[in-house]
Symmetry: C2
Subunit: 353 residues, 2 copies
């Protein structure tokens, strides 16, 4: 029987609750498909600060590097916001991404037909939207040096090199080949030198992908177009901070932030996590929606473990559960037949598998 | 009779057509209210490149500095996109902003009741939205040094000093005092040092405005919240590039990009312009919507010339014209009784004054 080692980072806030449901569902799918998952838990974020004094213990990095894939909940909370920067949960997360070398953050924004009304956008504008945002995750202004704040003047550096741009560009073009064969590269080349290099490099790279259409869009226009006509996009590729902003916009456009997964991949272990945060305000209340984490787990099966059948099974179970009107509280207003708490939602998905 | 000197920059694309209509309307309002406007035209952007070889002739800077206010159309077009960076229309615009010292870009995002359906967002989400975005316009990553692109590596610097932040913060707090007394400062302080200084400085400044509520939001969340629930915002204050992105998002949320004005103000001459671009694809066709420019002209009367009555007159005329079902082509789908071309729209607004 096949056997995989999965590293688990539950994190803070609702992290533990939603990851527990994902594990439950993973186990059900593994059983059906005859493979085994061994989990090992590691600390990161606020809980790591409280337990070990630092947001990213060395043990976590080693453990995840030695696993086949990592399932991650969410981190952060007000409690740790006033700590010095190097001790904050976010600093741990950024260091984690860097150590894992996960340069490509994939954020699909899709619509579940049953939840088309959950968006603030009109149904006809979003029905059928299927966007894949490819965000560069370990470069740009997030990691650029020099960076400084002397209390009077502060600055950060937005920097990219050609190899970094080629690397993320390839990810986008390869993905587009399996989709609608269109890549829209987003930058601010009319103002920024770093964006000019980005655009020039994408144009060069496009020559290796004659079957894929490459277009360019300025970031301000892209933010606008995501709201005006999201259906125009297939794959969007962009730098770290523009990707941070645009992927959140896109998730809100499709409306179902509680359902959207993400994968962060590079040359080492890939990380799978929901795109939503740790929601400390509802932690422990049993009302968190575990579906985004469960879909992330399915992505993990598909992309890191190549257990495609199990991944399909989970995704189909989720669709059926939504179709039959089961909802968590966040989606109670949208054609709910029954409103379930976090564990009951996990249970019903297991039942449908 | 009072007498004002207005500098006019028509620019490229639809710029000339829409500015001509605004001048027509300004003259009608001036006549009714007993003051006189003297116009002097200056070149900037593509037309300046074609005519003088540079995107911002020195004469334009001097002329505008010596005027009471500047009305500006739009610049740019594909024709000039492949020129070296220092010769592009956008470079002229940025230099112009810098020379004018217009550190505060005010972009109101409001809803015209008659056009509530023009947004892709549901009417109940946007009805009553009234946001004022205050964007820092002559600092941040747009102007930060060092900046370089050597073809292999490229970078820009996002930099702010405390005095710059205080200056734009004051603008936001003062504006909030005349509105709903709430300022939301947008940054990325969980990642960027420059944002941490921004946030700390806003917090300090807030002590001078105990009557105004200050909140903070990360830029990714703000982009999301603008789509999720735009009514929550009163004044948003943010840096140059975040403001670029968020103000375009906001304009699309309210749906009527052809109607939204902007003012760029500092210690010298203020600049008034529509928030939309030069739309080269429809230039010369007589279908451009001149209303955003006409509202910008009204803002100019109100804020730079203190001709409040004339400004009110123009704004009321526009509302009445929209109410009576007159539309330009871009808004033809939204309860149009009659679709007018650019000059006819100018004429009917004059008639209503
Ligand atoms: C928590 C924060 C540092 C992070 C980011 O900005 O990358 C988050 O917003 C995300 O998108 O994963
Ligand atoms: C044309 C461009 C340089 C400009 C900007 O980014 O400031 C425009 O997008 C704007 O918002 O006025």
């Amino acid at each position: 029987m096949k056997n995989y080692n999965i590293s688990i980072i539950k994190g803070d806030g609702i992290g533990p609750e939603i990851v527990d449901e994902a594990i439950k569902v993973l186990n059900a799918a593994a059983k059906k498909c005859d493979f085994e998952l061994n989990y090992k838990e590691y600390l990161m974020g606020g809980i790591a600060i409280d337990t070990t004094g630092v947001p990213l213990p060395a043990e976590t990095v080693d453990g995840v590097l030695n696993s086949d894939a990592c399932l991650f909940g969410a981190i952060g909370g007000e409690k740790w916001d006033t700590l010095p920067r190097e001790l904050r949960p976010e600093t741990g997360l950024l260091k984690f991404r860097e150590e894992m070398g996960v340069y490509a953050n994939l954020r699909p924004a899709i619509i579940y037909d049953e939840l088309v009304n959950a968006s603030t956008l009109k149904p006809e504008v979003i029905q059928g939207v299927d966007i894949m945002i490819v965000r560069e995750l370990i470069g740009g202004i997030y990691f650029g040096k020099p960076r400084e704040n002397d209390g009077f003047k502060a600055f950060n550096t937005m920097v990219y090199t050609k190899p970094e741009i080629i690397r993320i560009g390839k990810t986008a073009f390869e993905l587009a080949r399996k989709r609608d064969k269109r890549v829209c590269s987003v930058d601010k080349a009319n103002v920024l030198e770093v964006s000019q290099l980005w655009r020039d490099t994408m144009n060069e790279l496009a020559k290796d992908y004659p079957d894929v259409e490459l277009t360019h869009m300025y970031v301000d226009n892209a933010a606008m177009q995501l709201v005006r006509n999201p259906k125009q996009f297939d794959v969007i590729v962009t730098g770290n901070i523009f990707g941070d902003i645009l992927s959140d916009t896109a998730s809100m456009v499709v409306g179902s932030i509680g359902l959207l997964p993400s994968a962060s991949t590079g040359d080492k272990t890939a990380i799978y996590e929901p795109i939503h945060g740790s929601a400390p305000d509802i932690a422990g209340m049993g009302i968190a929606n575990p579906i985004a984490t469960i879909v992330s787990a399915a992505m993990m099966l598909r992309y890191s473990l190549n257990e495609v059948k199990a991944a399909d099974m989970i995704e189909e179970a989720i669709k059926a559960v939504l179709k039959d009107g089961y909802r968590t509280k966040d989606l109670a207003a949208f054609d709910a037949k029954e409103v379930l708490n976090t564990t009951a939602m996990g249970d019903i998905i297991v039942k449908y598998i």
